[in-house]
């Protein structure tokens, strides 16, 4: 039987030669995909791996030996024994000619175009276009159109690849855009005044537009893309954990863009997450540790806090409040601190939406009910949810307790709410009225300023990297908590976030066996046993 299977699998493979490199691919593979497999990018505009291919941009024409016409690599499947040339004289001439046609009406207003620097028309014209254009004719002028929501359309720049039309239909689940008119008068348009503003996924059309025809009003003229610092990250706006790039300029987030991850978000992200980044830029930040309201150096603050913790009477009730927008490392060490100091409980507050919103064209992608990235991580580490769906309430202070709050801004609580507690420590990014009387207010970093991991709703642990510089004295919470634990005699302070994660993985079975190395850039699922166990509870 094994032989039969082997035979049939070999029969399902075809071998072709692309630019002199032999490659074997499954039957039905398209030339553009086979070329990608050997690291060869074939120029294209209308083709997108997650959308249908209309083969209309005519950029990916390649020469297949023996065929009378050039073949579009995006729809032509590889035939056994085929010899394909992407750099033959005919293919090069076709691309050069087609690029010249693109520039016939394109305004070439790159100096004022947001796409400049990441524009595929710019890229391909520079690499394969003519040195000089031959057109002496006046260009067609169509002007701009407001597509609703965040989207602005510039018809003059549009190269009619129809990616946006197909995205709205195939992924956005709504025929919100179409081509109207024909020939060189073609433009993309909305239906009446409906636009794309109501669609949660519409922001993606700006990313997939190969040129600057679709613009984000939010990002309009905000920055030249070559001035942006691009950091791989994870969206913190819900527990889906979409992989993103955090594009920053002058130490502020300028925009968020999806980063492809086939398991989580494909090439997409929702508009809720995309535009929810101003909280990362909010000023002023807490700059220095405050001990009893007075600025203090870190060393003095930590030493005195360790002494206070050591001196607590045995049996003191300890309550720690975790943060669903900080990493497993930070929250894991916070939970550990509660254990080391005494008997206590670990809680968190996090806002929840009324409903989930599923991406019609990629159902694994959902804007989850939990509007924070690390709810699952907190739950796996024993934190329990308190408060309402607004992320408010549930934190009334009890006299005589030790209260250690991480991240939570306590916005719903009045000044002096923790009066009467034995000890109140606030590890925070921003000063808060409710914590103005805290014994210790310690400046920590935002997730965007540090390295760490979130655990998404499906139990996928995903890494994020620092994209912004924290204020001078702010420190990652895992570092602060690690030092406190070391001061209390609980191990050595972790040297870096990876070490902190390993420490947490030792403490919690869910993360057993995971490390930054094996999580990688794509994420890894938490321990299989734990996930099965979680399911078994419901059944039992």
């Amino acid at each position: 039987m094994a032989n039969v299977n082997e035979g049939s699998s070999a029969a399902d493979m075809v071998t072709c030669t692309i630019d002199g490199v032999e490659v074997s691919v499954p039957k039905g593979t398209r030339i553009i995909e086979a070329a990608e497999g050997i690291g060869l990018g074939i120029a294209h505009y209308c083709y997108h791996p997650a959308l249908s291919a209309p083969a209309m941009c005519r950029m990916c024409l390649v020469e297949v030996e023996g065929a009378p016409k050039l073949a579009p690599a995006c729809v032509t499947t590889v035939g056994d024994g085929q010899v394909i040339n992407t750099e033959s004289e005919r293919a090069l001439k076709a691309r050069e000619g087609t690029l010249e046609f693109y520039l016939f009406n394109h305004p070439l207003d790159c100096p004022i175009c947001d796409k400049s620097g990441e524009c595929k028309l710019q890229d391909f014209v520079h690499s394969e276009g003519r040195a000089r254009g031959r057109s002496l004719e006046a260009k067609r002028v169509l002007g701009q159109d407001d597509f609703g929501g965040d989207i602005l359309y510039d018809g003059d720049r549009c190269i009619m690849c129809t990616r946006c039309v197909r995205f709205m239909r195939e992924i956005g689940g709504e025929d919100a855009l179409c081509v109207v008119q024909r020939g060189h008068r073609s433009v993309i348009d909305t239906f009446y005044d409906e636009g794309v503003g109501e669609n949660l996924w519409a922001g993606n059309i700006v990313d997939i537009c190969p040129v600057g025809a679709l613009l984000s009003k939010d990002f309009l003229h905000k920055a030249r893309v070559w001035d942006l610092d691009r950091t791989p990250s994870v969206c913190a706006s819900c527990s889906q954990g979409c992989n993103i790039y955090l594009d920053g300029r002058d130490n502020a987030v300028a925009r968020l863009r999806p980063r492809q991850n086939a398991e989580v978000n494909s090439y997409w992200m929702c508009d809720y997450g995309r535009y929810n980044y101003e909280w990362l830029n909010r000023q002023p930040r807490l700059e220095s540790p405050l001990v009893g309201g007075a600025e203090s150096a870190w060393q003095a603050a930590v030493i005195s806090l360790v002494e206070r913790l050591k001196a607590l009477p045995s049996g003191t009730r300890v309550r720690v409040v975790g943060s669903a927008v900080l990493g497993n490392e930070d929250n894991g060490l916070l939970a550990r601190l509660a254990e080391v100091v005494g008997d206590g409980e670990a809680v968190f507050r996090s806002s929840r939406a009324a409903d989930e919103e599923t991406c019609p064209g990629f159902p694994a992608l959902r804007r989850r009910r939990d509007l924070a990235a690390n709810v699952k991580g907190l739950e796996l580490m024993g934190f329990s949810r308190v408060g309402d769906d607004e992320g408010h309430g549930g934190l009334a202070a009890t006299a005589g307790e030790v209260l250690i709050v991480l991240g939570d801004d306590l916005a719903d609580l009045p000044e002096g709410f923790a009066r009467g507690t034995e000890l109140f420590v606030h590890l925070t990014t921003h000063a808060s009225a409710a914590a103005s009387g805290a014994d210790y207010v310690l400046p920590v970093t935002l997730y965007a300023e540090q390295e760490g991991t979130f655990t998404n709703a499906d139990g996928r642990v995903q890494r994020f990297w620092p994209g912004l510089q924290p204020p001078a004295m702010a420190r990652p919470a895992w570092q602060v908590l690690g030092v406190l634990l070391a001061g209390l005699g609980d191990g050595a302070a972790p040297a870096d976030a990876g070490n902190a994660f390993l420490r947490v993985a030792q403490l919690h079975d869910a993360f057993a066996g995971l490390s930054y190395e094996n999580i990688g850039a794509r994420g890894a699922l938490v321990n299989e046993l734990v996930r099965l166990g979680a399911g078994a509870v419901e059944e039992g």
Partner: protein
Amino acid sequence: MAYPYRHEKETVVLTRGFGDPRTRTLEGWRALGGYKALGRALEMAPNDVIEVVKASGLRGRGGAGFPAGVKWSFMPKDDSKQPHYFLINADESEPGAFKDRELLRWTPHQVIEGALIGAHAIRARQVYIYMRGEFFEPAQIMARAIEEIYQANLAGKDILGSGVDIDVTLHLGAGAYICGEETALMNSLEGRRGQPRIKPPFPAVAGLFGKPTTINNVETVAAVPHIIVNGADWYRSFGTEKSPGTKLFNVSGHVVRRGNYELPLGFPMKEFLYDVCGGIRDGRQLKAVIPGGSSVPILTAAECEDLALDYESVAAAGSMLGTASVIVMDDRTNIVKQVRRMVEFYAHESCGQCTPCREGTEWLAKILRRIEVGQGTEEDLDTLLDLGANMTGTTICVLSDSAAAPVASSIEKFRDDYLALFGRAPEAPALAAAH
């Protein structure tokens, strides 16, 4: 009333009913022997019908000249798993072409009978006649004819007691030239944008609604009843070995008698122009001929001298017989203006999918407009030729090639017409190169 004009050298087969309103009715068509062929075809097995049409050598009259019987034989032989469709392309919109219009106006039943026979041959139970939206009169006539055949049980269930069911539906387009391209026509019929599809898959595999489909020109199916009744050998007695049968030649331009003429393929061009059409009007000289509708290369008067009007001979002369829509131009004609008008037509009708066509057609038109008003240079001719080359063979359908063809052939053959225009106007306003 006699049909506007008939010439004694015509071979009247398809045009027999032309000029006689009675042939528009079922009764009148039957009086001419109509629907005998359908009865006979329904008694034959579908494959046998295909064999007869194959043997007749009938070639598609929509322009490409592909053998109709061979096309029919591409269809799957089993229609139990998915429906088959038979489409009649009545979207005649090539500049210069007006032959199908006359067949539809005068002999609707001839077209329907051929369509029913074709549908039987390819095992289709549904015929769609896709007619261009501007054909108001032909559409009314055809709609009336369809009503008649349903009443006479020549369509619908169990046609003439044969057990064969075929429905016939007339559909009007909305006036886009590109919907005459077979796959754009299918998209239009499905309610989508009229844009040509990528091939493969070919219509015989996945056509209308993704099902096996055959599509034929009006004139092609109109010939089928005659072939079924009279046999393949009779049909081959007209025309040449490789281009058998008769063909409608529709002539426009500078001849004395413009109109439709039915002639055997292989008829000499010179005899056609100077005898059948009565020669060049006003006693002028012939300058150029477009032999097959606006999308084929132009021929000079010299090239027409010994030309025979069949697919092979016209191809050998560097053009195409196409739809045999002959456009004649006398020596007063400004070729540049004619080419500009044709290119503007293609620029207007390009569906806009493929970049070389969407941008290229308009670019050609703009250069030609500039040349026409005297602001051109010889460099423009090189640009025109190179743009035309970049537009040829690089797109999904051949509209792009069609726009480029007359430009290239006119520059090659009538370069003096272009040169004469250069320097006619003051210096063009200074335009910077685009980049």
